[in-house]
């Protein structure tokens, strides 16, 4: 989505901020006032994309609600690395119950607040791809159907990371996980399985669905802001690279998010009431190899046993996204 139309400022709106820019134009993350809802001392791996995505999202929510928000968290890395007894990294009202019930718990919290007449306190729920796409799927679908006043964030690192990298319904084709090993004629996760959660959310006809990624910070914050203007069920699916599960360098976390978006593998778009309304255009298109080769979970596609066909099949997914979500700038 177009976040701003600033006059040329050296880095435009690509960096978090810029000394040449007013703080109002810059991202919340670039300000000294940011909330740090998820603070230091947490036990996430070095370069964790999920820790970053969660702070980006919840800090923006806190800004927009004047610090009056309530967060419900599903089981998963984000819960485990932030709250090992007796410590918590959260600076926000935060509640964890079970792996699969976060949407239902959030629905309950929203109902309780409504019953108390506290309409200014907003409810947010969050979980990993496993809890969202698979185990909490039923509860989430119900929350959507009832159009409960909850903003749900899915932090998609494309597997069950906390328990040792098992495949989820969001694991991409050919990726190696503990349960989709490199073996046999079709190594890694098979093609043609899994679920596209943003499209499923859209199929519920809820007011707002968006995808976002940690490399496109201002876009992410703008989508949170848009979602917070709306009441009812809203869903934002955030791509969060995982150095441990993907076998990538911790320093490459943001770069991988960027390459996923710039290759077309992770399309950035928004939808309202089931219709796609906007998509972020690719700026410097890259072939999928650029993205895949930095990750050991795709190592079998390269080197001695290079698999050109496999790469081409993944490229096809990117090309389909590019067409479907109109990711290329139209020639002027």
């Amino acid at each position: 989505m177009t976040t701003s139309t600033v006059e040329f400022h050296q880095t435009g709106d690509l960096t978090a901020g810029n000394r040449l820019q007013d703080e109002q134009q810059a991202s919340r993350q670039s300000t000294q006032q940011r909330f740090n809802s998820l603070t230091a001392g947490h036990r996430a791996c070095q370069g964790c994309g999920e820790a970053l995505g969660a702070r980006f999202a919840i800090d923006k929510v806190m800004e927009l609600t004047g610090d009056r928000a309530f967060v419900v968290n599903a089981t998963g890395c984000l819960e485990v690395f932030t709250t090992p007894f007796p410590e918590s990294s959260w600076n926000v009202p935060w509640l964890h119950s079970l792996f699969g019930n976060a949407p239902a718990v959030a629905t309950g919290v929203a109902a309780a607040l409504r019953a108390q007449g506290k309409s200014d306190i907003r409810v947010v729920a969050q979980g990993g791809d496993g809890s969202t796409v698979d185990i909490g799927f039923g509860a989430l679908s119900g929350m959507f159907e009832r159009n409960d006043d909850v903003l749900y964030f899915c932090y998609d690192n494309e597997a069950y990371m906390n328990t040792g990298v098992q495949r989820s319904g969001a694991t991409p084709p050919m990726a190696r996980t503990a349960t989709t090993p490199i073996a046999g004629a079709n190594p890694g996760n098979p093609f043609g399985q899994g679920k596209n959660m943003p499209l499923i959310a859209m199929a519920h006809g809820i007011p707002y669905v968006a995808t976002a990624t940690i490399s496109h910070l201002r876009d992410l914050e703008a989508k949170v802001a848009k979602a917070m203007e709306i009441r009812g069920a809203r869903y934002i699916h955030i791509h969060v690279p995982c150095p441990l599960g993907w076998g990538s360098e911790p320093a490459d976390t943001v770069k991988l998010a960027r390459l996923a978006a710039e290759s077309g593998l992770f399309p950035l778009f928004e939808a309202e009431h089931g219709e796609v309304t906007d998509s972020s255009k690719i700026r410097r298109q890259v072939p999928v190899e650029e993205y895949l080769k930095l990750q050991r979970r795709y190592a079998h596609l390269f080197g001695k046993s290079a698999d050109a066909e496999g790469i081409a099949a993944i490229q096809k997914i990117a090309d389909t996204n590019i067409r479907r979500f109109k990711l290329l700038r139209e020639e002027e």
Partner: protein, 545 residues
């Protein structure tokens, strides 16, 4: 007693701060300042990035003041410096370099318009220094010595100071009001300028007057000639004399209708374009190698060709007979050197101008047997710019180096600093140089595509008939936006990326102008901040201890 947690546990907000995750680290991020390549290649040693940074913010006066720390002639350099900074600008690898010289010109012109004075010199030192030669090297030395508190007398043999700036560079490249104004400003800072004062024997001059040190920069203005068989049917002159004549008595020089210039350097171009403006019908440059191999800058060759100058490359002149030049055609050998290819042709001419390079007239050094004068007249200096004679320093075109005005300005500055230390019986200690901010240290994703803003050219009819300035300047907004194309290679420009991308909140933003601090209690050493710093102002180093 068995631990019996309650069904629901409340944990204190932010209590994880007790967990110092910094202990996980094996490498640590650091902030550092690297030298931008533009600064490295500026012969005058300007901190280009710093003044571009100030220009980005609209702080024009401070930007100009930053330039004059190193170079007192920004309006002149913004016009006639060949800007090696732009050749090495990292932005070139993205699309085009930052138009540094146009911004320098904007700042230089603004300073003249607004009457900004040069900084007030330091307290009087009681020392008196003689500078010989009022070209860029002499002017720069005089300015810097004056800044350091010394009394400075600058002598020049010509009726006005400026050296090659005035007697070598045509007015369509450097308008004289600009030249005069920047020289006058140096004079106003307290330098005594004595024109029409030629020194034939330096040893005698220094014997009769007491100076604490001397800086010599008389340039190289003896045109090089070659022996050519000629029946005298085509008059011969050289570029130096011709351009000098243009300035001293503009009405006198006449080259006729068919002018041939022999040579491929910038001076050859200057002569050819001047001849066009004087009304010559046919101006031809003869050069022995190819156009690509011409030492003149490509853009100046282009501009000359646009103005109707004809180029006969791969030709040498072998003789003059019957009002015609005999040309021999050339081809390049494997090493790129011209060899006769057997062909010949003739070229009718009313005059022939040699632009074959210049040598130094070092006759004024006759009283210094210890100073060795090379065949081309140049003299050598040590790393302090001092000649073999105690207290006598030299620079500019008369010492072996690149012959550009900016190199001369750099020499003047360097010599001034060494003279200052010499007078105080001290040695100037070389400062440790920061490492260079190479292109591969940048994360260019963060710089939006933005083509260079170029300067408008004068319309062609005026270009070929007047000496009006060919290139127009950039306006305020364009200069500011162009400055914003600078990527601040190697030095933090406060984009907040490192602060934003740290998953462990280990970076603290200290507020505008104060940059950032790393909290090593929590930094896990992931390297994300370093990777996402657009400009290479951070690096990872192994954990110590």
């Amino acid at each position: 007693m068995a631990f019996n947690p309650p069904y629901a546990i409340t944990l204190d907000a932010g209590s994880s701060l007790a967990n110092k995750t910094g202990s996980w680290r094996t490498e640590q991020p650091l902030y550092l300042d690297r030298l931008p390549p533009c600064n490295v290649s500026c012969p005058a040693g300007e901190n280009i990035q710093a003044w571009l940074g100030l220009t980005q913010e609209g702080r024009y006066r401070e930007a100009w003041e930053e330039i004059v720390i190193n170079n007192p002639l920004p309006a002149i350099h913004g016009r006639v410096c060949y800007h090696p900074c732009e050749d090495s600008c990292n932005r070139t690898s993205l699309e085009q370099p930052v138009n540094i010289h146009a911004i320098e010109r904007f700042l230089g012109d603004l300073a003249l318009q607004e009457g900004w004075p040069l900084p007030t010199p330091a307290e009087a030192s009681g020392k008196h220094i003689l500078v010989i030669g009022g070209g860029p090297g002499g002017l720069s030395a005089a300015y810097h010595l004056r800044q350091l508190g010394h009394e400075v007398t600058l002598m020049d043999a010509k009726p006005a100071a400026g050296g090659m700036l005035r007697y070598g560079i045509p007015a369509y490249r450097l308008p004289r009001d600009i030249l005069d104004a920047e020289i006058e400003r140096i004079q106003r800072s307290g330098v005594h300028i004595k024109v029409d004062t030629s020194i034939d024997n330096l040893a005698n001059t220094l014997h009769d007057n007491r100076y604490d040190a001397t800086f010599l920069a008389v340039g190289a203005h003896v045109g090089r000639h070659i022996d050519l068989k000629t029946d005298q049917s085509v008059p011969l002159t050289d570029a130096v004399d011709f351009l000098n004549g243009m300035e001293s008595s503009p009405s006198s020089p006449s080259l006729g209708n068919r002018v041939v210039v022999y040579g491929g350097g910038n001076t050859a171009i200057d002569v050819a374009r001047t001849a066009v403006r004087l009304g010559a019908e046919q101006v031809t440059i003869v050069y022995r190698r190819t156009q690509e191999k011409m030492p003149a800058h490509a853009f100046e060759i282009e501009e000359a060709l646009e103005e109707g100058v004809e180029l006969r490359a791969l030709r040498t002149i072998t003789a003059i007979t019957d009002g015609k030049l005999q040309l021999e055609t050339m081809e390049l050998d494997a090493d790129g050197w011209p060899q006769p290819s057997g062909g010949s042709e003739t070229l009718a001419a009313d005059s022939l101008v040699y632009a074959l390079g210049q040598t130094v007239n070092a006759a004024l050094l006759q009283g210094y047997p210890q100073i060795e004068v090379a065949a081309d007249g140049t003299i050598s200096v040590d790393e302090r710019m001092m000649t073999a004679a105690e207290g006598l320093f030299a620079g500019g075109d008369m010492v072996p180096a690149d012959r550009t005005i900016t190199t001369a300005v750099g020499h003047g500055k360097k010599a001034a600093r060494h003279i200052h230390h010499y007078l105080n019986d001290q040695q100037l200690q070389p400062r440790a140089k920061h490492e260079t901010a190479e292109f591969d240290l940048l994360n260019t994703w963060y710089y939006p595509e933005e083509p260079m803003r170029s300067q408008p050219l004068l319309e062609m009819q005026q270009r070929t008939t007047t000496f009006n300035e060919v290139l127009d300047g950039l306006g305020e907004l364009s200069s500011k936006l162009e400055a914003q194309r600078c990527m601040s290679c190697g030095n933090c420009f406060e984009c907040d990326n490192c602060y934003a991308v740290c998953p462990d909140n280990a970076i603290t933003k200290l507020g505008r102008g104060n940059r950032f601090a790393i909290d090593y209690d929590y930094c896990k050493g992931c390297g994300l901040c370093v990777e996402e710093c657009p400009c290479g102002a951070m690096k990872m180093v192994p954990e110590i201890g």
